[in-house]
Symmetry: C2
Subunit: 321 residues, 2 copies
């Protein structure tokens, strides 16, 4: 029955066996097979929060590749609690998962180093650790932010603020770093550009921070938000302060989440290939599991700038000292 050794067996016998199997309704028992081969055919996927609209499509990409390879996708949600990550991974390992895909990692998480040390096949998605550990598949956030800053600079903005996400996730530092570098390249002094940090990538966390930023730094003409949710929080703050977007202030986000293009004004942002990111991560893990050659470095998938109505040239006079 083993297709791998067709040919090494007399055709007649093979046919006879196959027919009997079909007649008897024989279906191999995967669990018994797992016990014998020490392979479960399962991959553990750990996500920080499935309710987050960027996570769903990524998992969908992962699952679709795993399914295609005959592997099961075992999902655990850490509820954005970094402490639950180790438990989640332990649970997956205990279940005998052949490999792991982690979308939940924080910058200083001990889990990836432990997995490396234990030789467990694993891949990171979206978020990485400060010290390079496991291979990471993500969007090319730096290039995306650079495009956003370039867009704003081309419109004439020079007083640009940044609303960052929580400092413990790598995307926050990557995007902020790219923001500063891009501003510098545009001839601005990054040290002079206001930067504020939001406790979470949520509207609720961002709104008060944005309100504080806008009232204390009225001279800024544009805001780059760490992601779309933070941008929406900023929009909410502006509304309360009767600031118009983009007339009084241009605003950009990141991720192109559902419906942000239908807000008033439609949000200028960067769209990322979520599904492909998940698919690439799964493929990378499959290569590793199959013993094929595979990237050990980061894989960054291209983003694209989506210009909508939340950005325009600063109003005349705003740039005067």
């Amino acid at each position: 029955l083993d297709p791998a050794r067709a040919g090494r067996v007399a055709d007649a016998t093979a046919a006879r066996v196959a027919r009997s199997a079909a007649e008897l309704g024989y279906v191999p028992d995967r669990i018994a097979r797992s016990l014998r081969t020490r392979r479960s055919g399962m991959v553990g996927v750990v996500v920080p929060d499935l309710a987050n609209p960027v996570v769903g499509p990524i998992v969908r990409g992962i699952e679709s590749v795993l399914w295609g390879a005959g592997l099961a996708c075992v999902l655990v949600d850490t509820d954005n609690d970094a402490g639950r990550e180790a438990d989640a991974v332990a649970g997956q390992r205990d279940r005998g998962c052949d490999g792991l895909i982690l979308a939940s990692v924080t910058r200083h998480s001990p889990v990836p180093v432990a997995l490396m040390a234990a030789g467990v096949p694993a891949v990171l998605v979206t978020r990485g650790t400060d010290e390079p550990t496991l291979p990471l598949v993500s969007s090319d956030d730096a290039t995306g932010v650079t495009a956003l800053v370039g867009h704003l600079a081309a419109l004439g903005h020079r007083r640009i603020a940044y609303l960052a996400g929580p400092p413990d996730v790598s995307t926050t530092v990557t995007r902020l770093g790219a923001f500063r570098a891009a501003c510098e390249r545009a001839g601005l002094d990054p040290g002079e550009l206001p930067v504020r940090s939001c406790a979470a990538y949520t509207v609720a966390a961002a709104e008060p921070v944005a309100a504080d930023l806008l009232s204390s730094q009225p001279e800024i003409t544009a805001v780059v938000a760490g992601n779309d949710m933070i941008a929406v929080g900023c929009l909410a703050a502006m509304e309360r302060m009767s600031l118009r977007c983009p007339e009084d202030l241009s605003l950009v986000g990141f991720n192109d989440m559902p419906l942000v293009g239908r807000l008033k004004p439609g949000l200028t942002t960067v769209s990322i290939p979520q599904r492909e990111i998940g698919a690439a991560a799964a493929s990378l893990l499959l290569d590793r599991l199959a013993g094929r050659s595979f990237t050990t470095a980061a894989v960054l998938l291209p983003t694209s700038l989506v210009v909508r109505a939340s950005t325009s040239a600063p109003r005349p006079g705003a740039l005067a000292p």
Copy 2:
């Protein structure tokens, strides 16, 4: 080591065994255990599309209950392809899943009957079949729609149209049925109220249908959409036709998806307890798996009307013949 028979064993022996186990780093092998007990400790979860913002939170609710019970959540996405459902379920069964949760079911899907016949513990979520089969956990859509129609009727609307979703999913018929019943109770003739069907619960599918409805039935003063995405599609059509919301037309959706409250105007809709729905479905399955008593009928969780700016009284004169 078995906690179930503590007490039936001398304490000294139990302690000795436990200590040795700890010293040797003994960890029971779940796969071997599964082979012996014929229980995998896994539950298969089949979803139609993880990228859909209502699905993520439901799965999160499911996973959180399963994790709490020590069970794994094995996820498959059918990509909204009804044909893949049977394959997905077969895959899960083949893997030895102890139970199944199906969020992907269409009205005439043969899968639930087959599962019932095979005696497989399984539960439906969100969507059910026409013929009652497996227990269903869902939001109480009928009551939600009734609240929406009541809200519109109280504002004075009498020419109300319905933009339905695809006819093959149960939520479409449930909501449409509730719409008709509620209109009738409000003293309107359901036969005279325009109803149009969209091929999918998406903005893209809804927009042309809405445009056609609005141009052919200019006398309507309010639209009830099958869900928020269809409502957004209607909003897009209105924008292109220079119809104002709510001045020219009131609009309501369903589900309270992320950001619909931040559109202009904020969408009046019905919010559903997504996470609780998932959690309830998982609990129901756990009861079944544990041989406890469990509901075999539908479980409908309460919704709540969220009134925002997309609804107002019809403009004066709109109701004249």
